[in-house]
Symmetry: C2
DNA sequence: TTGGACGTCAACTAGATAGTTGGTTTACAA
DNA sequence: TTGTAAACCAACTATCTAGTTGACGTCCAA
Protein backbone atom coordinates (compact mmCIF):
# COMPACT_ATOMS: atom_id res chain seq x y z
CA UNK A 1 0.00 0.00 0.00
CA UNK A 2 2.90 2.34 0.68
CA UNK A 3 5.94 1.22 -1.26
CA UNK A 4 7.74 4.42 -0.40
CA UNK A 5 11.45 4.86 -0.28
CA UNK A 6 11.82 8.17 1.50
CA UNK A 7 9.10 10.41 0.14
CA UNK A 8 8.63 12.48 3.30
CA UNK A 9 12.31 13.25 3.68
CA UNK A 10 12.71 14.03 -0.01
CA UNK A 11 9.73 16.31 0.07
CA UNK A 12 10.95 18.11 3.19
CA UNK A 13 14.44 18.57 1.74
CA UNK A 14 12.93 20.04 -1.41
CA UNK A 15 10.74 22.42 0.57
CA UNK A 16 13.64 23.72 2.58
CA UNK A 17 15.92 24.15 -0.41
CA UNK A 18 13.09 25.81 -2.30
CA UNK A 19 12.43 28.24 0.52
CA UNK A 20 16.03 29.42 0.44
CA UNK A 21 16.12 29.63 -3.34
CA UNK A 22 12.78 31.42 -3.71
CA UNK A 23 13.56 33.82 -0.86
CA UNK A 24 16.81 34.71 -2.56
CA UNK A 25 15.71 34.95 -6.19
CA UNK A 26 11.92 34.97 -6.42
CA UNK A 27 9.89 32.72 -8.69
CA UNK A 28 11.28 34.03 -11.96
CA UNK A 29 14.86 34.11 -10.71
CA UNK A 30 14.78 30.76 -8.93
CA UNK A 31 16.39 27.84 -10.74
CA UNK A 32 14.84 24.44 -10.49
CA UNK A 33 18.22 22.79 -10.92
CA UNK A 34 19.70 24.72 -8.02
CA UNK A 35 16.81 23.73 -5.76
CA UNK A 36 17.23 20.06 -6.61
CA UNK A 37 20.98 20.25 -6.12
CA UNK A 38 20.66 21.98 -2.74
CA UNK A 39 18.15 19.36 -1.67
CA UNK A 40 20.46 16.60 -2.86
CA UNK A 41 17.63 15.19 -4.91
CA UNK A 42 16.86 14.72 -8.55
CA UNK A 43 15.07 17.55 -10.33
CA UNK A 44 12.29 15.31 -11.47
CA UNK A 45 11.20 14.85 -7.85
CA UNK A 46 10.02 18.47 -7.84
CA UNK A 47 7.56 17.63 -10.56
CA UNK A 48 6.60 14.37 -8.93
CA UNK A 49 5.86 16.00 -5.60
CA UNK A 50 4.64 19.48 -6.49
CA UNK A 51 3.74 19.59 -10.17
CA UNK A 52 5.73 22.60 -11.23
CA UNK A 53 7.81 25.54 -10.05
CA UNK A 54 4.84 27.78 -9.21
CA UNK A 55 3.08 25.14 -7.15
CA UNK A 56 6.31 24.50 -5.28
CA UNK A 57 6.41 28.21 -4.51
CA UNK A 58 2.85 28.09 -3.19
CA UNK A 59 3.75 25.15 -0.97
CA UNK A 60 6.73 27.06 0.40
CA UNK A 61 4.63 30.14 1.16
CA UNK A 62 1.94 28.14 2.90
CA UNK A 63 4.45 26.33 5.05
CA UNK A 64 6.12 29.60 6.07
CA UNK A 65 2.77 31.18 6.95
CA UNK A 66 1.78 28.17 9.02
CA UNK A 67 5.02 28.55 10.95
CA UNK A 68 4.26 32.21 11.57
CA UNK A 69 0.72 31.54 12.74
CA UNK A 70 1.79 28.79 15.08
CA UNK A 71 4.52 30.87 16.67
CA UNK A 72 2.94 34.30 17.10
CA UNK A 73 0.03 34.58 19.49
CA UNK A 74 -3.00 36.70 18.63
CA UNK A 75 -2.89 40.43 19.44
CA UNK A 76 -5.42 40.03 22.23
CA UNK A 77 -5.43 42.68 24.92
CA UNK A 78 -1.89 43.85 24.20
CA UNK A 79 -1.55 45.07 20.62
CA UNK A 80 1.61 46.95 21.52
CA UNK A 81 3.33 43.77 22.56
CA UNK A 82 1.90 42.10 19.46
CA UNK A 83 3.67 44.59 17.23
CA UNK A 84 6.89 44.10 19.17
CA UNK A 85 6.67 40.33 18.87
CA UNK A 86 5.84 40.51 15.18
CA UNK A 87 8.70 42.92 14.52
CA UNK A 88 11.16 40.56 16.18
CA UNK A 89 9.78 37.56 14.36
CA UNK A 90 10.13 39.21 10.97
CA UNK A 91 13.63 40.37 11.75
CA UNK A 92 14.63 36.85 12.72
CA UNK A 93 12.97 35.38 9.60
CA UNK A 94 14.03 37.56 6.68
CA UNK A 95 13.28 34.68 4.33
CA UNK A 96 9.60 34.80 5.21
CA UNK A 97 9.48 38.53 4.60
CA UNK A 98 11.16 38.17 1.23
CA UNK A 99 8.79 35.37 0.25
CA UNK A 100 5.83 37.57 1.11
CA UNK A 101 7.25 40.33 -1.04
CA UNK A 102 7.90 38.08 -4.03
CA UNK A 103 4.41 36.75 -3.66
CA UNK A 104 2.86 40.20 -3.42
CA UNK A 105 4.66 41.16 -6.61
CA UNK A 106 3.46 38.07 -8.42
CA UNK A 107 -0.09 39.26 -8.71
CA UNK A 108 -1.35 42.50 -10.16
CA UNK A 109 -5.08 42.05 -10.25
CA UNK A 110 -7.70 43.70 -8.07
CA UNK A 111 -9.42 40.46 -7.26
CA UNK A 112 -8.62 38.19 -4.37
CA UNK A 113 -7.04 35.00 -5.63
CA UNK A 114 -8.84 31.73 -5.10
CA UNK A 115 -7.45 29.57 -2.35
CA UNK A 116 -6.92 32.50 0.00
CA UNK A 117 -9.81 31.58 2.25
CA UNK A 118 -7.47 30.21 4.90
CA UNK A 119 -5.66 33.50 5.08
CA UNK A 120 -8.84 35.54 5.20
CA UNK A 121 -9.90 33.35 8.10
CA UNK A 122 -6.60 33.80 9.90
CA UNK A 123 -6.75 37.57 9.54
CA UNK A 124 -10.35 37.69 10.69
CA UNK A 125 -9.33 35.85 13.84
CA UNK A 126 -6.58 38.37 14.49
CA UNK A 127 -8.97 41.26 13.95
CA UNK A 128 -11.51 39.66 16.29
CA UNK A 129 -8.85 39.16 18.92
CA UNK A 130 -7.74 42.76 18.59
CA UNK A 131 -11.31 44.01 18.88
CA UNK A 132 -12.05 41.84 21.87
CA UNK A 133 -8.88 42.95 23.61
CA UNK A 134 -9.92 46.54 23.18
CA UNK A 135 -13.45 45.81 24.33
CA UNK A 136 -15.02 46.62 20.97
CA UNK A 137 -17.05 44.84 18.36
CA UNK A 138 -15.04 43.79 15.28
CA UNK A 139 -15.44 46.61 12.78
CA UNK A 140 -13.93 48.12 9.71
CA UNK A 141 -11.90 50.43 11.92
CA UNK A 142 -10.44 47.48 13.82
CA UNK A 143 -9.49 45.81 10.56
CA UNK A 144 -7.76 48.96 9.38
CA UNK A 145 -5.89 49.18 12.67
CA UNK A 146 -4.73 45.60 12.26
CA UNK A 147 -3.57 46.39 8.74
CA UNK A 148 -1.60 49.38 9.96
CA UNK A 149 -0.04 47.46 12.83
CA UNK A 150 1.00 44.72 10.44
CA UNK A 151 2.62 47.30 8.24
CA UNK A 152 4.52 48.86 11.10
CA UNK A 153 5.95 45.49 12.09
CA UNK A 154 6.68 44.32 8.56
CA UNK A 155 8.09 47.41 6.94
CA UNK A 156 11.53 47.56 8.57
CA UNK A 157 12.15 43.95 7.56
CA UNK A 158 10.90 44.60 4.03
CA UNK A 159 13.17 47.51 3.31
CA UNK A 160 16.41 47.05 5.20
CA UNK A 161 18.30 49.05 2.58
CA UNK A 162 16.02 52.02 3.08
CA UNK A 163 16.58 51.63 6.80
CA UNK A 164 20.29 51.85 6.17
CA UNK A 165 19.87 54.88 3.94
CA UNK A 166 17.76 56.74 6.49
CA UNK A 167 19.30 55.48 9.70
CA UNK A 168 22.89 54.71 8.75
CA UNK A 169 24.64 52.35 11.14
CA UNK A 170 21.86 53.15 13.58
CA UNK A 171 19.81 50.67 11.55
CA UNK A 172 21.48 47.85 13.47
CA UNK A 173 20.05 49.11 16.75
CA UNK A 174 16.97 46.90 16.64
CA UNK A 175 16.07 47.55 20.25
CA UNK A 176 15.87 51.29 19.70
CA UNK A 177 13.72 50.79 16.62
CA UNK A 178 11.38 48.45 18.45
CA UNK A 179 11.13 50.84 21.39
CA UNK A 180 10.28 53.71 19.08
CA UNK A 181 7.71 51.52 17.37
CA UNK A 182 6.05 50.47 20.62
CA UNK A 183 5.98 54.08 21.85
CA UNK A 184 4.44 55.06 18.53
CA UNK A 185 1.73 52.41 18.76
CA UNK A 186 1.06 53.09 22.43
CA UNK A 187 0.41 56.74 21.73
CA UNK A 188 -1.63 56.04 18.62
CA UNK A 189 -3.91 53.50 20.28
CA UNK A 190 -4.41 55.52 23.47
CA UNK B 1 29.18 67.22 -34.38
CA UNK B 2 25.80 65.69 -33.62
CA UNK B 3 24.86 63.29 -36.35
CA UNK B 4 22.00 61.96 -34.27
CA UNK B 5 18.85 60.51 -35.61
CA UNK B 6 16.56 60.62 -32.62
CA UNK B 7 18.57 59.53 -29.64
CA UNK B 8 16.63 61.43 -27.00
CA UNK B 9 13.26 60.15 -28.15
CA UNK B 10 14.55 56.59 -28.49
CA UNK B 11 16.06 56.72 -25.05
CA UNK B 12 12.87 58.11 -23.52
CA UNK B 13 10.72 55.50 -25.24
CA UNK B 14 12.98 52.77 -23.92
CA UNK B 15 12.86 54.16 -20.39
CA UNK B 16 9.09 54.29 -20.38
CA UNK B 17 8.67 50.81 -21.83
CA UNK B 18 11.25 49.50 -19.39
CA UNK B 19 9.48 51.07 -16.44
CA UNK B 20 6.28 49.22 -17.31
CA UNK B 21 8.06 45.95 -17.97
CA UNK B 22 10.23 46.06 -14.85
CA UNK B 23 7.34 47.15 -12.64
CA UNK B 24 5.32 44.21 -13.92
CA UNK B 25 7.94 41.46 -13.93
CA UNK B 26 11.05 42.59 -12.04
CA UNK B 27 14.58 42.36 -13.35
CA UNK B 28 14.69 38.59 -13.67
CA UNK B 29 11.20 38.35 -15.17
CA UNK B 30 11.53 41.28 -17.54
CA UNK B 31 12.20 40.46 -21.19
CA UNK B 32 14.52 42.65 -23.17
CA UNK B 33 12.66 41.81 -26.38
CA UNK B 34 9.35 42.95 -24.91
CA UNK B 35 10.84 46.24 -23.78
CA UNK B 36 12.25 46.93 -27.22
CA UNK B 37 8.99 45.97 -28.88
CA UNK B 38 6.92 48.16 -26.57
CA UNK B 39 9.27 51.05 -27.23
CA UNK B 40 9.04 50.43 -30.98
CA UNK B 41 12.81 50.31 -31.14
CA UNK B 42 15.44 47.73 -31.92
CA UNK B 43 16.71 45.67 -29.03
CA UNK B 44 20.28 46.63 -29.70
CA UNK B 45 19.46 50.22 -28.72
CA UNK B 46 19.08 49.08 -25.12
CA UNK B 47 22.70 48.00 -25.10
CA UNK B 48 23.80 51.11 -26.98
CA UNK B 49 22.08 53.43 -24.53
CA UNK B 50 22.26 51.62 -21.21
CA UNK B 51 24.79 48.80 -21.46
CA UNK B 52 22.69 45.95 -20.19
CA UNK B 53 19.43 44.99 -18.54
CA UNK B 54 20.55 45.75 -14.99
CA UNK B 55 21.82 49.20 -15.85
CA UNK B 56 18.56 49.93 -17.62
CA UNK B 57 16.77 48.96 -14.43
CA UNK B 58 18.95 51.35 -12.43
CA UNK B 59 18.14 54.14 -14.87
CA UNK B 60 14.43 53.44 -14.51
CA UNK B 61 14.61 53.50 -10.71
CA UNK B 62 16.54 56.74 -10.64
CA UNK B 63 14.11 58.43 -12.98
CA UNK B 64 11.14 57.32 -10.87
CA UNK B 65 12.76 58.54 -7.67
CA UNK B 66 13.53 61.90 -9.25
CA UNK B 67 9.87 62.22 -10.16
CA UNK B 68 8.86 61.45 -6.59
CA UNK B 69 11.28 63.94 -5.09
CA UNK B 70 10.22 66.69 -7.44
CA UNK B 71 6.53 66.17 -6.75
CA UNK B 72 6.36 65.61 -2.99
CA UNK B 73 7.33 68.53 -0.76
CA UNK B 74 9.41 67.96 2.37
CA UNK B 75 7.59 67.03 5.58
CA UNK B 76 8.31 70.39 7.16
CA UNK B 77 6.02 71.50 9.94
CA UNK B 78 3.18 69.16 8.95
CA UNK B 79 4.32 65.53 9.03
CA UNK B 80 0.72 64.36 9.19
CA UNK B 81 -0.05 66.00 5.88
CA UNK B 82 3.24 64.62 4.56
CA UNK B 83 2.10 61.08 5.25
CA UNK B 84 -1.25 61.78 3.62
CA UNK B 85 0.40 63.22 0.51
CA UNK B 86 2.86 60.34 0.29
CA UNK B 87 0.10 57.77 0.71
CA UNK B 88 -1.83 59.31 -2.15
CA UNK B 89 1.23 59.54 -4.34
CA UNK B 90 2.11 55.90 -3.86
CA UNK B 91 -1.47 54.83 -4.51
CA UNK B 92 -1.50 56.78 -7.75
CA UNK B 93 1.90 55.40 -8.79
CA UNK B 94 1.79 51.67 -8.14
CA UNK B 95 4.59 51.19 -10.67
CA UNK B 96 7.00 53.16 -8.51
CA UNK B 97 6.09 51.10 -5.47
CA UNK B 98 6.61 47.85 -7.33
CA UNK B 99 9.96 49.07 -8.67
CA UNK B 100 11.08 49.88 -5.15
CA UNK B 101 10.07 46.41 -4.03
CA UNK B 102 11.88 44.66 -6.88
CA UNK B 103 14.92 46.74 -6.12
CA UNK B 104 14.79 46.01 -2.41
CA UNK B 105 14.67 42.31 -3.21
CA UNK B 106 17.63 42.55 -5.55
CA UNK B 107 20.14 43.04 -2.78
CA UNK B 108 20.72 40.90 0.26
CA UNK B 109 23.88 42.31 1.77
CA UNK B 110 24.22 44.35 4.93
CA UNK B 111 26.28 47.01 3.24
CA UNK B 112 24.96 50.11 1.57
CA UNK B 113 25.48 49.86 -2.16
CA UNK B 114 27.79 52.31 -3.84
CA UNK B 115 26.07 55.06 -5.79
CA UNK B 116 23.42 55.59 -3.12
CA UNK B 117 24.88 58.87 -1.91
CA UNK B 118 22.17 60.84 -3.69
CA UNK B 119 19.49 58.93 -1.81
CA UNK B 120 21.21 59.29 1.52
CA UNK B 121 21.35 63.01 0.85
CA UNK B 122 17.68 63.16 -0.08
CA UNK B 123 16.66 61.32 3.10
CA UNK B 124 18.87 63.47 5.26
CA UNK B 125 17.11 66.54 3.86
CA UNK B 126 13.74 65.05 4.72
CA UNK B 127 14.87 64.20 8.23
CA UNK B 128 16.24 67.71 8.67
CA UNK B 129 12.98 69.19 7.43
CA UNK B 130 11.02 66.99 9.82
CA UNK B 131 13.24 67.95 12.76
CA UNK B 132 13.06 71.63 11.94
CA UNK B 133 9.29 71.51 11.63
CA UNK B 134 9.08 69.97 15.08
CA UNK B 135 11.54 72.50 16.49
CA UNK B 136 14.19 69.90 17.25
CA UNK B 137 17.73 69.20 16.24
CA UNK B 138 18.08 66.36 13.69
CA UNK B 139 18.68 63.21 15.71
CA UNK B 140 18.54 59.46 15.55
CA UNK B 141 15.02 59.61 16.92
CA UNK B 142 13.91 61.94 14.12
CA UNK B 143 15.42 59.61 11.56
CA UNK B 144 13.54 56.67 13.04
CA UNK B 145 10.34 58.65 12.98
CA UNK B 146 10.89 59.45 9.31
CA UNK B 147 11.49 55.76 8.61
CA UNK B 148 8.28 54.80 10.37
CA UNK B 149 6.25 57.48 8.60
CA UNK B 150 7.61 56.31 5.26
CA UNK B 151 6.57 52.79 6.12
CA UNK B 152 3.07 53.85 7.07
CA UNK B 153 2.62 55.61 3.74
CA UNK B 154 4.25 52.92 1.63
CA UNK B 155 2.89 49.75 3.15
CA UNK B 156 -0.71 49.85 1.88
CA UNK B 157 0.58 50.32 -1.65
CA UNK B 158 3.14 47.54 -1.25
CA UNK B 159 0.70 44.89 -0.12
CA UNK B 160 -2.66 45.55 -1.76
CA UNK B 161 -3.50 41.84 -1.62
CA UNK B 162 -3.00 41.78 2.11
CA UNK B 163 -5.20 44.85 2.31
CA UNK B 164 -7.86 42.94 0.46
CA UNK B 165 -7.46 39.94 2.72
CA UNK B 166 -7.76 42.00 5.90
CA UNK B 167 -10.18 44.69 4.74
CA UNK B 168 -12.23 42.95 2.06
CA UNK B 169 -14.00 45.36 -0.28
CA UNK B 170 -13.34 48.01 2.32
CA UNK B 171 -9.82 48.10 0.87
CA UNK B 172 -11.12 50.33 -1.92
CA UNK B 173 -12.10 53.03 0.56
CA UNK B 174 -8.85 54.94 0.28
CA UNK B 175 -10.22 58.00 2.04
CA UNK B 176 -11.08 56.00 5.13
CA UNK B 177 -7.66 54.41 5.18
CA UNK B 178 -5.92 57.75 4.80
CA UNK B 179 -8.07 59.27 7.55
CA UNK B 180 -7.23 56.42 9.88
CA UNK B 181 -3.57 56.83 9.01
CA UNK B 182 -3.57 60.56 9.68
CA UNK B 183 -5.38 60.05 12.98
CA UNK B 184 -2.83 57.41 13.87
CA UNK B 185 0.12 59.69 13.08
CA UNK B 186 -1.48 62.68 14.78
CA UNK B 187 -1.88 60.75 18.02
CA UNK B 188 1.57 59.19 17.80
CA UNK B 189 3.41 62.46 17.19
CA UNK B 190 1.47 64.41 19.82
C1' DT C 1 9.38 -15.71 -3.21
C1' DT C 2 7.46 -12.73 -6.35
C1' DG C 3 4.74 -9.15 -8.77
C1' DG C 4 3.71 -4.71 -9.24
C1' DA C 5 3.28 0.01 -7.77
C1' DC C 6 5.70 3.70 -6.60
C1' DG C 7 10.21 6.39 -5.68
C1' DT C 8 14.44 7.72 -7.91
C1' DC C 9 17.49 9.48 -11.36
C1' DA C 10 20.57 10.39 -15.70
C1' DA C 11 19.94 11.99 -19.91
C1' DC C 12 17.29 14.42 -23.11
C1' DT C 13 14.47 18.15 -25.55
C1' DA C 14 12.17 22.04 -27.23
C1' DG C 15 11.97 26.60 -26.66
C1' DA C 16 13.39 30.87 -24.84
C1' DT C 17 16.75 34.63 -23.83
C1' DA C 18 20.56 38.14 -23.15
C1' DG C 19 23.69 39.97 -25.71
C1' DT C 20 26.42 40.59 -30.50
C1' DT C 21 27.56 41.55 -35.19
C1' DG C 22 27.90 43.54 -39.63
C1' DG C 23 25.77 46.26 -42.64
C1' DT C 24 22.62 50.41 -43.63
C1' DT C 25 20.73 54.98 -42.94
C1' DT C 26 20.77 59.66 -41.20
C1' DA C 27 22.36 64.26 -40.39
C1' DC C 28 25.70 67.52 -40.32
C1' DA C 29 30.27 69.79 -41.33
C1' DA C 30 33.28 71.24 -44.63
C1' DT D 1 28.20 67.59 -52.91
C1' DT D 2 30.54 64.50 -49.98
C1' DG D 3 33.00 62.39 -45.97
C1' DT D 4 32.08 60.54 -41.66
C1' DA D 5 30.53 59.51 -37.18
C1' DA D 6 26.90 58.08 -34.85
C1' DA D 7 22.04 56.02 -34.73
C1' DC D 8 19.72 52.25 -36.19
C1' DC D 9 18.23 47.40 -37.23
C1' DA D 10 17.65 42.34 -38.94
C1' DA D 11 19.55 38.31 -38.16
C1' DC D 12 22.37 35.43 -35.52
C1' DT D 13 24.36 32.64 -31.57
C1' DA D 14 25.75 30.44 -27.49
C1' DT D 15 23.75 29.35 -23.47
C1' DC D 16 20.38 28.40 -20.27
C1' DT D 17 16.00 26.47 -18.45
C1' DA D 18 11.54 24.23 -17.25
C1' DG D 19 9.78 20.20 -17.86
C1' DT D 20 9.84 14.96 -19.75
C1' DT D 21 11.09 10.26 -20.46
C1' DG D 22 12.32 5.68 -19.85
C1' DA D 23 15.16 2.64 -17.27
C1' DC D 24 16.13 1.02 -12.75
C1' DG D 25 15.77 0.41 -7.69
C1' DT D 26 12.96 -0.31 -3.49
C1' DC D 27 9.41 -1.80 -0.62
C1' DC D 28 5.45 -4.45 0.66
C1' DA D 29 1.37 -7.63 0.07
C1' DA D 30 0.05 -11.97 -1.03
Amino acid sequence: MSPKVSTAATRAALLEAAREEFAAYGVAGARVDRIAERAGVNKERIYGHFGNKEKLFDAVINEALDDLTSQIALPGADPVDYVARLTDYYRRHPDLVRLLMWEALNYRGQELLPGQEARVERCARKAASLAEGRGEEPSKATARTLFTLTGLALFPAMMPQLGRIILGDEADDHDALRDQLTAFVTAALK
